[in-house]
Amino acid sequence: MRAKPEGLFRLTALLSVSALALTACGGSGDAGSTDEEPGGTAANGADQLEASGELTVWVDADRADVLADAAGEFEADTGIAVNLVQQDFGEIRDQFVSQVPTGEGPDIAVGAHDWLGVLVTNGVVAPVELGDAAGDFEDVATEAWSYDGQVYGVPYSIENIALLRNADLVDQAPETFDEMIQLGEASGATYPFVVGLDPQAADPYHLYPFQMSYGAPVFGQNEDGSYDPEDLQLGNEGGVEFAEWLAEQGSAGVLNTNIDGDLAQENFNDGTAAFQLTGPWNVPSALEAGINVEVDFIPPAGDQDAPPFAGVQGFFLSAQSENTLAATTFLVDYVGSPEVQTALYEVGGRAPALSESFEAALVDDEIVAGFGEVGAEAVPMPSIPEMGAVWDFWGATQAAIINGDGDPAQLWEQMVEDVAGAIE
């Protein structure tokens, strides 16, 4: 009789042990299969026409279906299976960096071009020679995926911000920032213009077009379009002018750090804001709210053009891949094909990187065309690791200037000094 509870305990203990063993085994089993080399068939390969082996591709949920089609085609053509592993897009960079050295990493992964600095510095990514195909992509896309003279991936979409206009309130695109504010005020909207800012970190990404219009990029560019970390342009005359402009707009209440991204979107969707500076991610909800959305070029605040940053998504290759040949073929000939690029555009709603698909998408959709036209003029967001030092200080200083916490020129110069110090 006393044996019973003890037996029960043993049962649970054993169950938990075996469950543990099973999970442990499951993990190592997976590891085994991804590590498998593509068949050691060099000896009997002559008799065997079908290639064997497997490519592992990390992809986010949105892109997985499109890739599955391309993967099916690839397998039918080459006999190499493509194993798609779904990952959270935001996790891929760090996972890739830590998994590739262990040999558990994929052959190919999806990502954003601004990860390149980290990926290259860690030696986990291999160049992909696009060859003649490079000319088939939009310039900004290949430029973005270049790092230190090498192209590191096959780009598939270009993402950038643009000016959204409520066409029921304002019927013409503004030429300058001041004109935009006038038009917005004349329309009777509560807010002539909104942009989501963080009370502590402002938003250098969204404010960058205005900074560019004062002729103050972050870094100077080399001849081949890559950014030169030695040439910090942030602190040039234009930069200081921009800082003063920020302070002015802050005190006038046009830029308001208490209006964060959600509030900006809410106001635009309610029709209480005439213009919103944002990316394509906020368009669906505005259309759903019944706003008559037009996409315009970003009006410059200074006397130069106001190009935003472009973020370019693409697929890249692992430096430790043992299937380089198959992976490169899959990247260049399949992911780089117009069918796949167009299919990726259809699920993501961002302008495709391949020129042929890009042109088609522009005809296809007014909103995408609006963002695409702005994007074609955009500058790639710097991917060099030194950019990390810039992000650390940039936003906090912008927020301080907009909130009127000190002399704008002085704060800006202090920031440039700190950034320069951190880069060294």
């Binding site: 043993r10 042990v17 190499i80 050295p101 510095t121 030696g123 291999a126 020679e129 301080a400």
Partner: protein
């Protein structure tokens, strides 16, 4: 289980005069009392465990994961041994827990301990072998304006004499073909058949089909064919087996001397023990590799000016934050517990239920909601309670500190309320009554009788609450993100950053992650928390009294 406690039969009295027979009988009874079903289950479960362990170990050994494979074998053997033998009851109870403890706690702790002594971080991510491989891959520059070569990959034909070497064949403008291999520059090939600009056959060679290339892809992609005898012309290399491009290498790795030489400038980069190739000017060639740096990270944590400055400030605030949080939540929790413990209070049950609500929501969610409510211009607090006053709850350095304490009070008091209620109910009412009879005033009675008794029970919880708040990352991260920052200070640390959120910034924010330094900080935090806890436990002696 000892032989005299698990019998289902009437137990034989364990007397000294027990005969050998009796002992034997007891043993048999004990063995059979388990029941054959259980024995069968035990065998099946252990069999499964061993089978999976053997499979896992085989896979691991094939992948040359010797250590992990050996651990799997040893672990499975140990578990089998524990559950197959008679007795060893404590081990049977503890084994599953110990396994999880080893995997999820001990391993993690040891690993971060190990990382603290390395330079692991951005640029020092892997082994030297990988770093060399990556540098060579990343610094092959395509010769400007060079054409794309449509190539075929060939192998010598014939059964016996054929070597395993691969060849590249490219067509020339005149319709001929060039062939070359490793160490064998391109030269005209005889008897070549060219179709559509691609070589489809060469006498004495066999053109490999694409499927075969896929099977030998490492050989193909590693093949480097010099264009000519002049190394400055570069070499052909293919990534997809169909198109080759002309490259020159920016760096040359000399394996015997262990140096990287820049082929353009002739500059030599040496491995000087810093985990990267370094030239004379001290410039590092990235990527580097992971090395053991000894106590460097700890030394840096306390000597480097850019780290030391904020470290002192952040440490002070972390102590203040943890201490004030514990004090405020405890006082409020105790006050409410006493109020709701009073018999005269009506509907106490419902009030108690409401009190526990903040505890029932996920902490990070509450922190996010609070951060919205504390928005300077549009926040609920300013608009509703302060009539639209623009109080910078989260953007003023001191108010942000206050805000974080207020929110932590809201999040933390229900816990204190619960444990105080429990402890108060365990204190017999007679004690207070006796005090009242003796003429003590209610507060006096509370102070000298209830509070000491209460503290005995609660003190360990206060200490653990202190340790928890010391590392209360969620709240800081979600409410203020460590801000507001003093932009004139020149460091990426805000006025509400506590040690753990600072460690997070060192390790994960920005593009220059430094896991080694972050791990060193974690160890320092552990030492601080550990020391304080030990001292506090000694002081209160509450642990012993609890037992």
């Amino acid at each position: 289980m000892s032989s005299d406690t698990t019998t289902s039969e009437p137990k034989p009295q364990p007397t000294r005069k027990q005969t050998r027979r009796q002992r034997q009988a007891a043993r048999i009874i004990d063995a059979t009392s388990m029941g054959w079903k259980l024995i069968l289950f035990k065998i099946v479960a252990l069999g499964l465990l061993c089978a999976t362990a053997v499979y896992a170990a085989l896979v691991l050994f094939m992948n040359e994961r010797w250590l992990i494979g050996a651990l799997v074998v040893v672990g499975a053997a140990a578990l089998t041994w524990i559950y197959l033998q008679r007795g060893a009851l404590p081990a049977k109870y503890l084994a599953p827990g110990l396994v999880f403890l080893l995997i999820f706690q001990i391993f993690v702790v040891l690993y971060s301990g190990y990382v603290a002594f390395t330079n692991y971080g951005t640029g020092h991510n892997s082994t030297k072998e990988h770093a060399v491989h990556a540098i060579m891959l990343q610094t092959q520059d395509r010769v400007p304006d060079s054409p794309t070569y449509q190539i075929s990959v060939l192998e010598e034909s014939g059964e016996l004499l054929a070597s395993e070497d691969l060849y590249f064949a490219v067509s020339t403008a005149e319709g001929g073909a060039l062939i070359g291999a490793e160490e064998q520059p391109l030269e005209p090939a005889e008897g070549a058949v060219v179709e559509d600009g691609r070589v489809v056959g060469v006498e004495g060679y066999e053109v490999l089909p694409f499927a075969e290339l896929l099977n030998r892809q490492q050989e193909v992609t590693n093949l480097v064919v010099p264009i000519s005898d002049d190394p400055n012309d570069g070499y052909l290399r293919t990534q997809d087996g169909q198109r080759a491009y002309q490259y020159t290498s920016r760096y040359e790795y000399d394996e015997s001397a262990d140096t990287m030489t820049n082929t353009e400038t002739g500059e030599v980069y040496r491995d000087t023990g810093e985990g990267a190739f370094v030239n004379q000017a001290g410039e590092q060639l990235m990527p580097g590799w992971q090395i053991n740096v000894g106590m460097d990270n700890f030394v840096r944590a306390v000597t480097e000016e850019s780290i030391r400055g904020p470290l002192i400030y952040v440490t002070l605030w972390t102590f203040a934050f943890a201490f004030i949080s514990v004090a405020t939540t405890f006082i409020l929790g105790l006050f409410l517990a006493m109020a709701f413990n009073d018999q005269r209070m009506k509907s106490r049950k419902y009030y108690r239920l409401v009190m526990i609500l903040p505890y029932a929501f996920p902490g990070f969610l509450s922190a996010l909601v609070w951060s919205g409510m504390m928005n300077q211009e549009f926040g609920f607090i300013n608009n509703v309670f302060f009539g639209g006053a623009a109080i910078p709850w989260l953007t003023d350095p001191w108010l942000a500190k206050l805000s974080i304490l207020i929110v932590n009070l809201w999040l933390g008091f229900p816990y204190m309320f619960l444990v105080c209620t429990g402890a108060l109910q365990a204190i017999p009412e007679e004690l207070s009554e006796a005090a009242q009879v003796d003429g003590a005033k209610p507060f006096q009675a509370f102070r000298s009788i209830k509070l000491p008794l209460l503290l005995t029970a609660i003190a360990p919880l206060l200490i653990s609450s202190f340790a928890f708040n010391f590392n209360n990352f969620n709240l800081v991260y979600m409410l203020t993100g460590g801000g507001p920052r003093d932009v004139s200070a020149g460091v990426n640390v805000g006025s509400t950053d506590i040690l753990i959120s600072m460690v997070y910034k060192v390790a994960f924010v920005g593009s220059q992650a430094d896991y080694g330094l972050a791990s060193a900080f974690s160890i320092l935090i552990f030492i601080i928390v550990g020391t304080i806890s030990v001292i506090a436990f000694r002081k209160t002696k509450s642990f012993e009294e609890l037992n």
